[in-house]
Subunit: 353 residues, 2 copies
């Protein structure tokens, strides 16, 4: 067993507070990771608040994890002590279903094991996430972080990044794709950067004129104000692909209308019922409304390599672990550009103090 410190919530809506935990002893194929940085995802807030009525407390959030290998089990072959590594939203899966065999572990029919608030497949214990000093993970679920990728900024790729990368790759986004991004937060800003890097013609659709400069600074080619009816009408049928990162119930019809023939709008943020979709809008132009859930291990590794090669990094605000409760409040007020990342050195320092 490995003792470690983590920030956890002990009950719904409670503050995150430091607490000592014990990690399992390394199994044969386990890797012990000393966590360097962990991104703060909106779902961390939902989980801590028990918004989805499925949180097991104490809950240690965090599934955008990067760090270094500190120890390995005897059968580990893919990682060695000192390697720069990363862990995303899941830490195990059945390994035998079609999804797992195809590297789409997030869709494991046996149920993927979430990095936190999941159930360990061996011990049945509640999994604990990355707001921690250390984490123990099966080697298969530990990704390599290329040397060229700055660890400080890499962590949001593990959830925000892969969530937008997968649907773009699976829908063939590339040179000349007419692509729009709706919502300019943690996911949306990565959508813009990645889509531009893939060669797409990128438009940011926003309700807020104040975001236009931000969108252009991120590399977007155009901005479309969804409140400007004339501009919206001029953009009917204009897009091949729309990435919809709005994280709550909303009306997709005004965006569906902007899709050309066989165009697809991919919802990655809203996990609640949407406003009624107009069947005629789907039938006209053979439009598609799709969802997409994070991404598998091969796609995540591909993303890390792509970003290393292009020096393409999320825009992060680094915080100390002691600021995490403030960061949650700021996130809920949309006051972050575009992702909080916890510098885990601050946890070690506070534990030592």
């Amino acid at each position: 067993m490995t003792a470690f410190t983590a920030y956890c919530a002990c009950d719904a809506h409670g503050p995150l507070l430091p607490k000592m935990f014990q990690r399992r002893a390394l199994r044969a194929d386990d890797v012990l990771i000393e966590i360097a940085y962990c991104g703060v995802c909106h779902s961390d807030v939902h989980q801590v608040n028990n918004d989805w009525n499925n949180t097991t407390f104490p809950c240690v959030p965090g599934h955008e994890i990067v760090g270094h290998v500190a120890a390995v089990g005897p059968e580990v072959t893919r990682h060695k002590v000192g390697d720069r590594v990363a862990v995303g939203c899941f830490v195990d899966s059945c390994g035998q279903c079609e999804s797992c065999l195809q590297g789409q572990e997030q869709h494991c029919t046996g149920g993927v094991t979430a990095t936190y608030n999941g159930k360990d497949r061996v011990s049945g214990e509640n999994t604990l996430g990355g707001y921690a000093d250390k984490i123990v993970v099966r080697e298969k679920f530990v990704l390599h972080v290329p040397d060229a990728l700055d660890l400080k900024y890499a962590s949001p790729l593990l959830c925000a990044g892969i969530t937008v990368w997968t649907p773009m790759r699976e829908n063939g986004v590339g040179k000349g794709t007419k692509l729009a991004v709706v919502g300019l937060g943690g996911l949306g800003h990565m959508g813009v950067k990645l889509a531009v890097a893939l060669g797409a013609e990128v438009t940011v659709i926003t309700t807020s004129p104040s975001k236009a400069d931000d969108a252009l600074a991120l590399g977007a080619h155009k901005v479309l104000l969804s409140t400007d009816r004339k501009s919206m009408m001029a953009s009917l049928n204009a897009f091949d692909f729309i990435l919809d990162t709005i994280p709550k119930r909303h009306d997709v019809n005004p965006y569906l209308m902007l899709l050309g023939r066989n165009g697809v709008l991919v919802v990655v943020g809203a996990i609640e019922p949407l406003e009624p979709v107009h069947g005629g809008l789907l039938i006209r132009n053979n439009r598609r409304l799709a969802g997409s859930l994070i991404g598998g291990l091969p796609a995540t590794q591909e993303l890390l390599c792509f970003c290393a090669e292009r020096q393409l990094l999320p825009q992060c605000e680094l915080i100390d672990i002691g600021s995490v409760n403030d960061a949650y409040a700021r996130m809920q007020a949309n006051d972050v550009k575009y992702r909080f990342v916890i510098d885990m050195a601050s946890l070690r320092e506070s534990a030592a103090a």
Copy 2:
């Protein structure tokens, strides 16, 4: 000009009554068709009732047309007098947009010219459909009916058939595809027959136990009662493709849940707002909700050839033109298996009498 008799509605909800019209003189690339049979489509009823507030009266419905070439313009090369031919939902398009160039004329960005209640691209006149003795159509929009295809039963392929064929072909339905059909009417029954012929494992999903025998008689391998919660739960994630032919507002969520990874539900009947779609259901399994609008000329010709080769025909109830108002009433009461087809000889006889 060619005089001809047609059944037309003179105002919304009015009965269809015979009336003499004049067809335009043949243009250089026009074909004059003597209509043998014309299918009765649900949209005919909607259009006659002016349900979509866009009907120009007098309105001659009918866009499932088969017959023989009676005359050709001087530049016609693809058809000759006596040829067995067919006309579907449109009779012209711009010919220059990407959709037209790709044989997806139904999505013409200049606006396809509907077979009836459309606007002739040359004269601007209201187009008149197939409940008529004759029709004049540009040769490009006239399809060949293979000799092996019985004209009596071929007409519903031109709308009901192509509407379900296109999404199956575009989504790669074939051997082993786990496919479900929702709604067993004019479209649904063709969906079953075509899907079986393509090699899919076909399930009919219905609310009504009485339709089970009909479904199996059409070739479906299984029937799933949507009112049976236990059976529905046992079918979660079970399908690759769901063809949803329900022609009105409805809740697609219970069907979306049945889609496996990357599965697609294609709406072909409902052109109104659907009940709120659950975003989480789309995100889980990367499901897609799509629409599909009839099909282009190449796909329609492909369908006619496929059906001729397989001797695969819609199940029709032949009626005389004088029964068309009764047929409308019966369709609205869902009392037809599965498509009314007007034998246009009855129109010629009544006109001669």
